[in-house]
Amino acid sequence: MAAEAAPAPLSLAAEIARARRRRRAAFLRRLFGHPSFLIGFVILAAFAATALLADRIAPYAPTKIDYRAILAPPSAAHWFGTDGFGRDILSRILHGTRVSLTIGLWVVAMVGVFGTLLGTLASYVRWLDGLIMRGLDGLMAFPGVLLAIALAAALGPSETNAIIALTVTFTPRTARIVRASVLVVQGMQYIEAAHAVGAGHGRIVFRYILANALSPLIVQLTFVFAVSIIAEAILSFLGVGPPPPAPSLGNIIADGRSYIQEAWWIAVFPGIVIAVAVLGLNLMGDGLRDVLDPRQRVERGGH
């Protein structure tokens, strides 16, 4: 520990840097050598590329209405058919992946921040632990979908509402995971050693404790990402997700539910796209978990 404070000889510093690079390379090799992760990564990369390039590759504008082509079945002009507005389903799905990814990333970011904050606070500041944990227990007992419906009633359905509702839903479990892994790390000798040499609380939390809680957090957030893509679809289906005419995957399914037998293509294609994207994220999560945190092969429950 003390060695870091003193200027190390150049050769040693280079040695450390090389070792770090080697470790990173080895880690990446292990990660991409893991078949689940690789498949999942390819799927997600394709998904992300679609979202980024939606403007370029979509054959039509996602909100382009054509009342002469209402409920057209899949054809050369419309590969995935059209909906009740004559809008091209393929174009809507391509743009819809963007909405799903945006919501997913926001939820992951917010859950990551709040989960880490609450989890660390609970484990680090003893007197807050009970308070925070009981609060989180309460939120866990509160159905997130209903929160989203109430928010939509108040503010109108929007991406923001969906993000807030999903954040509230997924934060408690993530905070628990962070808290649990921080508690494990906290008891370890090197933390006590850091305290002993007089490292500040902030430094200890960031440099040592969080670094060690990161692996389970990343794994958990991958699954949160996956679940929030499905949850977005559920909220849109109930009419409280991104408002029309936004081409979210859930909205497209909702548009198609009245025509499920007459125009199956409206609901079926986005459903498959959601399933594939979520599958990709789950596979990535599995791979990450195996490589980052082999002991934690079980998704943690609430206790």
């Binding site: 009981r134 609060g135 227990d137 309460g138 939120l139 866990m140 007992a141 509160f142 159905p143 997130g144 979908v145 209903l146 929160l147 419906i149 109430a150 928010l151 009633a153 108040a154 839903t169 479990r173 996956a226 499905i230 679809a233 559920i234 289906f237 109930l238 399914i253 539910r257 499920i260 037998q261 609901a267 459903g271 959601i274 399933a275 594939v276 979520v278 599958l279 789950n282 596979l283 092969r297 079980v298 998704e299 429950g301 609430g302 206790h303």
Partner: protein
């Protein structure tokens, strides 16, 4: 054990408090109230104001909240503006529907999840293992309400084997109940089946690798006995835990499934109440479902102790 129970029940109080506080926050958030619905299209602003006064909606929310907690202490959950009956009655009448759905889904998910998980663990690193895990993963990845729509078309319309929606009470007609619940429960079980299958597999693999199981095998105990007596019993710990967590998720899921399958459950009751601003039902409904959640989790904790001797003896 008694002390454990008392502690657990006491620790439920803050949970219920948080739920009710969040509910008040939610009521504070939503604009509008029920006066327009009760007053009719022609009601004048004065008449609407009179309705608000009659229902106490003109008082500030904190006052209404205090009154609500006061009533709660006397065991009174209030009176629904719209249904014209006590909230508790209305919620309890719906509870069997949601509990049937959630219960049956849990049973289905657990049975199917266990079977897949055990198969995968016992035939570790074989095609069966991979097949089971891919099935579980697909279950995890398919949006369940979408799966429900597909099931309705397949079994309800094309094959005509099962009803497309609606609810039959278990006490009226057990067969009808099972038929009406099969598709919704399958839909709701899909995701949870995947979770349980994956958990079962990994905890079974952990346990199967442990010394005492190897010893048991070495002592010549039949394979099946080893799996079921030792390995599965220990694998139950995380499974039971997940059951508790799932109870919380189930109500959220139930809202959607109840809509797709036209089931008169608590989820739709509360959604309807939010959409119509029937505040007492929102409050009462969420509190009762939170109670169910807490109750299931207490049971889960007890089972946890029962399945895991270390936890039991440590107390």
């Amino acid at each position: 054990m008694t002390r454990f129970l008392i502690t657990r029940i006491l620790s439920a109080v803050p949970v219920l408090l948080v739920v009710s506080l969040v509910t008040f926050l939610l009521i504070w958030l939503v604009p509008g109230d029920i006066s327009a619905e009760l007053g009719g299209t022609d009601a004048t602003p004065e008449e609407l104001e009179a309705i608000r006064r009659r229902l106490g909606l003109d008082r500030p929310l904190w006052e209404r909240a205090l009154a609500w907690y006061g009533d709660l202490f006397r065991g009174d959950l209030g009176y629904s503006y719209l249904l014209q009956r006590p909230v508790l009655d209305a919620v309890l009448e719906r509870l069997p529907v949601t509990l049937s759905l959630a219960g049956l889904a849990l049973v289905l998910a657990t049975v199917m999840g266990l079977m897949l998980g055990i198969l995968a663990a016992v035939r570790h690193n074989t095609l069966a293992d991979q097949g089971a895990m891919v099935t579980a993963l697909i279950g995890l990845s398919i949006p369940d309400f979408w799966f429900g729509i597909v099931l309705i078309i397949l079994f309800g319309v094309w094959l005509g084997w099962l009803p497309t929606g609606g609810f039959v009470a278990l006490t009226d007609d057990p067969l009808g109940w099972a038929r009406s619940m099969t598709l919704p429960a399958m839909t709701l079980a899909l995701t949870q089946m995947g979770v349980i299958a994956r958990m079962t597999r990994s905890s079974m693999l952990d346990v199967l690798g442990q010394d005492y199981v190897r010893t048991a095998r070495a002592k010549g105990m039949p394979r099946g006995t080893v799996v079921f007596r030792h390995a599965l019993r220990n694998a139950m710990v995380p499974i039971v835990t997940v059951v508790g967590v799932l109870t919380g998720i189930l109500l959220s899921g139930a809202v959607v499934i109840e809509t797709v399958f036209s089931l008169p459950g608590v989820g739709r009751l509360i959604v309807g109440a939010i959409q119509r601003r029937d505040f007492p039902i929102i409050q009462g409904g969420l509190l009762v479902t939170a109670c169910v959640f807490v109750f299931v989790n207490i049971i889960v904790d007890m089972l946890y102790g029962w399945f895991d001797p270390r936890v039991r003896d440590g107390r």
